[in-house]
């Protein structure tokens, strides 16, 4: 089956082509069916590959497709690598992808762009699979930019809305900033090691000097910052919520935005060989986690809360990468994929029921009308808050344990983030589902639980969010930590935890206590005291307002980059190019014209004048030769 790995991306590609060419003619049932089937087929193949891989001794196999770019020593084949890391991502992408495709059948059923939606979604899965399957950096880059394109198309899915289009452009351009870093990183790898194929590069990695390795690690990290929305390239992700909610779940929570984590885990040898780079990754991750969590606490749009939560959770994953806990980061990617996809899909179900309303201040008391959504989202909220024994508890505590070991300050920031996470999640949860309904009467009349195509994926994801922790039960609980063992072969420098079980339990205790305090606070404020987030900005405290405005980072970028670039470009075009550069050229013409005008005066047509000047000339020549 592994030999047929090409089928995994091929199915979505076929789905894309069919829907792209004939989607509208096929009708909703058929085009939706084809899209779902294509992902289902790829999921089945992935599952078979995953099981087969377990039987192979070295757990890694390369499948060559064709030779792509050749230029002397630079030869880049289009080839795939199946190994523990790519197989885990395969399962996440096709598995969650399948659920979200099914969910979208219901969610998008009334949209006129139904077929187009599935066309893009299938294309996205295709590129995402290329990203994780590639056996060299350039194939990863193909997927990398490809998912960026799909993200652009899906954020701007409702293309009549100018704001959405702006968000789409912002996402694409910001990602491209990262992509340039990634591209230069790839080129530096090529010039350092003479190849960009993973196996060959990693085998030779130690031959590079430390400066070069740090440079490679940082350039790749710039790429990761863009795709995985880290400071300073994170502002596109909250805006990306303009896309349909299933897109937010699949692309902007579960899969695409974790590509940066995939990339760094794939290249872990560069990071474990460069302390400087690792430190930067950890600090950026921690800072992003904290900052996004703070902003998340004051947002009132249900999707924005989740978006900042995603940024924050991604920050935690980078924190894990920075402290060398690579398999832990993948573990958190996995559990996060479960509960965050669920949260977004649940939010979609809520928005669906509320006829498009996204403001949590106008919700409330939805638990009766949406029992399944309520229950499943509740489980996901517990999972993300890190309550035992839900999945998030295990993955997050492992991150915090590693952080504690590496640097207490990082652990502290991580713990504060967890506290805030539990707070803003339950704030959202209480405001949405508890207390009493605050929407219009018409909305109230319209409230309904979503159709089966939407609730079944919710239920499946809820089961995964609850039980996902089983993938990595730590030794302290007498578990075998399957995911860490499974990923062992691809981690070059192991970093086993030396914490005693007592310390680990203590850390877990602290984390749980912190989360409970946060939940209790949220309960007290939003459930018991019925406090509503301020309707009016004037009612906010200064810091709250500052955070509500996302710390004015967008304005800062506009002020320091966008506007100066526009002004500079205008000046360049209108003044420099037109007046100076072209003026100089035109000036030459003017001077020549003027000179010929002057010289023309000599051609008077008067023979006497000609004879006179001839004589003058002869005299001058005679004088000159005598003097000489």
């Amino acid at each position: 089956m592994i030999k047929l790995i090409g089928l995994v991306p091929l199915f979505p590609l076929i789905g894309f082509a069919i829907n792209g060419f004939f989607g509208k003619k096929l009708g909703k049932k058929l085009s939706g069916g084809i899209a779902v089937l294509s992902i289902a087929a790829s999921f089945v193949v992935s599952l078979l590959v995953f099981m087969e891989l377990n039987g192979i001794a070295n757990k890694s196999q390369v499948v060559n497709l064709f030779s792509w770019i050749n230029s002397d020593t630079l030869s880049i084949p289009f080839s795939f690598l199946v190994d523990p890391l790519s197989s885990i991502f395969l399962m996440i992408i096709t598995g969650i992808g399948l659920l979200i495709h099914i969910y979208s059948l219901g969610y998008m059923s009334h949209d006129e762009g139904f077929a187009r939606f599935f066309t893009y979604l299938n294309l996205f899965v295709f590129f995402m699979l290329l990203l994780v399957l590639g056996n060299n950096y350039l194939v990863m880059f193909v997927g990398w930019e490809g998912v960026g394109l799909c993200s652009y198309l899906l954020i701007g899915f409702w293309f009549k809305n100018t704001e959405y289009n702006k968000a789409a452009n912002k996402a694409f351009i910001m990602n491209r900033i990262g992509d340039l870093g990634f591209l230069l990183g790839i080129i530096l790898i090529f010039f350092t090691y003479g190849t960009i194929t993973y196996g060959d590069v990693f085998a030779k990695a130690h031959t590079g000097s430390e400066t070069i390795i740090t440079a490679i690690a940082l350039l790749l990290f710039v790429g990761a910052m863009g795709k995985s929305a880290q400071i300073p390239l994170y502002t596109w992700l909250p805006d990306a919520m303009a896309g349909p909610t299933p897109v937010s779940a699949l692309i902007h929570a579960a899969t695409m935005v974790t590509a940066g984590i995939y990339m760094i885990v794939r290249s872990n040898i560069f990071y474990s060989s460069s302390e400087d780079a690792s430190e930067i990754v950890a600090v950026v991750g921690a800072a992003t986690a904290l900052m996004a969590a703070i902003i998340g606490c004051v947002q009132t749009d249900i999707k924005k809360v989740l978006a900042y939560s995603t940024v924050s959770q991604l920050g935690l994953m980078f924190l894990a990468l920075g402290v060398g806990a690579y398999s832990t980061a993948v573990f958190h990617v996995t559990t996060h994929a479960f509960f965050k996809a669920l949260l977004f899909l649940g939010a979609g179900s809520v928005i669906h029921a509320m006829s498009g309303e996204q403001d949590i201040r106008k919700m409330g008391g939805l638990k009766k009308a949406l029992p399944i959504t309520y229950l499943t989202m509740g489980l996901a909220t517990l999972a993300i808050s890190g309550i035992f024994p839900f999945s998030g508890f295990f993955s997050k505590d492992e991150i915090l344990a590693y952080a504690y070991e590496e640097n207490k300050a990082l652990w502290f920031v991580g713990s504060i983030t967890s506290l805030l996470t539990a707070f803003y999640m339950f704030r959202m949860f209480f405001l949405t589902f508890h207390t009493s309904f605050r929407g219009t009467a018409e909305q109230k009349h319209h409230l309904h639980e979503s159709p089966k195509s939407m609730t079944i994926p919710l239920i499946i994801l809820a089961v995964l969010s609850v039980a996902g922790g089983l993938l990595g039960i730590p030794a302290a609980f007498h578990g075998s930590n399957w995911i860490s063992t499974y990923l062992n072969p691809i981690i070059m420098h192991k970093n086993p935890s030396t914490l005693s079980h007592e310390t680990e339990f203590l850390l877990m205790g602290i984390a749980t206590a912190v989360a409970l305090v946060a939940i209790y606070t949220a309960y007290n404020v939003y459930q018991k005291s019925n406090v509503l987030p301020a309707e009016n900005e004037k009612d906010m405290r200064p810091f709250e307002r500052f955070a509500f405005h996302k710390f004015k980072v967008d304005e800062f970028y506009a002020f320091t980059i966008t506007r100066p670039l526009n002004m500079f470009s205008t000046a360049l075009g209108k003044f420099f190019d037109n007046q100076l550069v072209d003026g100089f050229i035109e000036g030459i013409g003017v001077v020549v014209k003027w000179l010929s005008g002057v010289v023309r005066q000599l051609q008077t047509g008067n023979i006497g004048f000609y004879i006179f000047s001839m004589v003058l000339g002869i005299v001058a020549i005679i004088f000159w030769s005598i003097l000489k």
Binding site: I69, N161, N165, L180, L183, L572, V581
Partner: protein, 487 residues
């Protein structure tokens, strides 16, 4: 022989077309250009079976007393450029089917003469002949722009003509200078390219410097490279669409091709001393033109500036003078040619359907014609070099090549990755997305000929993006040989 045929067929075709009238002229022109394309594909086939086949070379005496020969030949590089030319000319002719030009016989006749000169430039192996074809190519395009151009055509075309001619004269001086230094031992002067190579390399460092700048000026103006570019935007905007396509799609490649074949191998010391200055100009041009493109309001002018940016990167790759750089340049020359023809056709379609190219007046065309939107998007992606489009292969190799020359240059040149996305996406949003307005609501369906051209362009973008092997097979060995000869 085959090469000679490739030059003579468009010339004969031009004469025949000249005697036809009305629609027959353009149909005949299309027919002949397709024949020419078939001929070049046959030459490619010949080349594949035997790259040194005698069929591909022609060498007969022209002006004996001056040592001038009519020497033409097809190596991998020339073949690539000839294929680009013969592929694009029929497409360009097809793209004109919805526009009724006055005196079509003259219009299409001139286009075919231009094709002959272009094939001549790309195949000449004799310095004198190269110069003759080089100048010959200017004459038809001058008339095309002058007679069928837009409002300010007389002034703008005059500037374009004088500016490029000015550069070419420097090249002529350099070529004559080189010619005079040939045959130092044998005493026999020659214009043959290999003799000129030898002559150039035997010059002193200072002399090589002069030759470098004289030739570089001619090529830099033709491409054009910053700061010699100011004729370009006006000319591109004012020329009739097909003229713009010829200029940007094929003619500017004369400059880049000239760099590869007629400059860098000739004066290695000159390049060693001055290449970095030229490189810096090229890289500045990338950022400079991209920035200006961002604030353009006329879509055609925006593409004109984007073309300066793209060609700057190509020049930088050539000046890096390593395998990836030069090979990337050749591949990007083909890709850019294809993509820019698509983009200018889009500008033309916009104008024909709405009467304006002002981005701010357009918008929402996607609602009216989604198929056009898709094809537009594919061409746009090709031109911002998204992977799996043709633009990516070239751009990746080019940036790699420039990196091999200097990492910082590559970082600056790489800004095209970001800036290109900025101006392209902004214009796409402005033109295609949003709600449609009174100008765009009646956009309507595309004409069959336009659709055909866009489909061919899109197909080429995707095919060469996924499978660039055919281009690589031609470019890679040719570049390797060339680089070996200068080491």
């Amino acid at each position: 022989m085959l090469t000679g045929l490739l030059i003579i067929v468009p010339l004969i075709a031009a004469f025949l077309v000249f005697f036809l009238k009305g629609k027959n002229a353009r149909i005949a022109a299309l027919g002949f250009s397709v024949v020419e394309f078939a001929l070049s594909v046959f030459a490619w086939y010949q080349f594949k079976s035997d790259p040194l086949s005698k069929q591909l070379y022609l060498n007969c005496t022209w002006i004996e007393s001056l040592g001038v020969n009519f020497a033409v030949g097809l190596d991998g590089m020339s073949l690539l450029m000839v294929l680009l030319t013969t592929f694009l000319v029929p497409i360009i002719i097809l793209s004109s089917f919805k526009t009724d030009y006055e005196r079509p016989n003259a219009f299409y006749g001139l286009m075919l003469i231009m094709q002959m000169a272009l094939v001549g430039v790309f195949t000449a192996n004799d310095g004198f002949l190269f110069y003759v074809f080089w100048e010959l190519a200017l004459i038809p395009i001058y008339f095309i722009c002058l007679l069928w151009g837009g409002e300010n055509r007389a002034r703008i075309t005059f500037k374009f003509f004088v500016y490029t001619l000015f550069g070419s004269l420097f090249m002529l001086v350099a070529l004559v200078f080189l010619y005079h230094h040939t045959g130092m031992q044998s005493g026999i002067k020659s214009w043959a390219i290999n003799d000129l190579y030898q002559s150039g390399r035997s010059l002193t460092e200072t002399q090589q410097g002069y030759v470098f700048w004289a030739m570089f000026l001619a090529f830099a103006i033709k491409m054009p490279i910053f700061p010699f570019h100011t004729w370009q935007p006006d000319t591109y905007v004012n020329a009739p669409t097909q003229g713009t396509m010829l200029l940007s799609g094929i003619m500017l490649k004369m400059g880049t091709f000239g760099l590869i074949k007629w400059l860098l191998p000739v004066v290695p010391l000159g390049v060693a001393n001055w290449g970095n200055v030229a490189m810096i100009l090229s890289v500045i041009g990338i950022i400079y033109a991209s920035c200006i493109a961002i604030v353009q309001t006329d879509y055609k002018r925006l593409i004109a500036y984007s073309s300066i940016a793209h060609v700057g990167l190509i020049a930088a790759g050539i000046l890096a003078w390593n395998q990836q750089g030069v090979q990337g340049a050749l591949i990007q020359m083909v890709s850019h040619g294809i993509n820019v023809v698509g983009l200018f056709l889009i500008a033309d379609i916009l104008f024909r359907h709405t009467g304006t190219r002002e981005i701010s007046k357009l918008g929402g065309i996607r609602n009216v014609n989604p198929k056009f939107a898709v094809m537009f998007l594919i061409i746009l992606l090709g031109s911002v070099a998204l992977p799996l489009t043709n633009g990516f292969i070239g751009e990746f190799l080019l940036i790699t090549g420039v990196y091999g020359y200097n990492a910082w240059m590559a970082a600056f040149a790489g800004l095209t990755v970001i800036l290109g996305a900025v101006y392209m996406l902004r214009s796409y949003q402005g033109i295609m997305l949003g709600e449609s307005n009174t100008v765009t609501a009646g956009f309507g369906e595309l004409a069959a000929s336009d659709k055909a051209v866009l489909i061919i362009v899109c197909a080429a973008i995707l095919v060469f993006g996924v499978y660039p092997q055919p281009l690589t097979d031609l470019a890679e060995p040719a570049v390797k040989t060339l680089l070996m000869s200068t080491k």
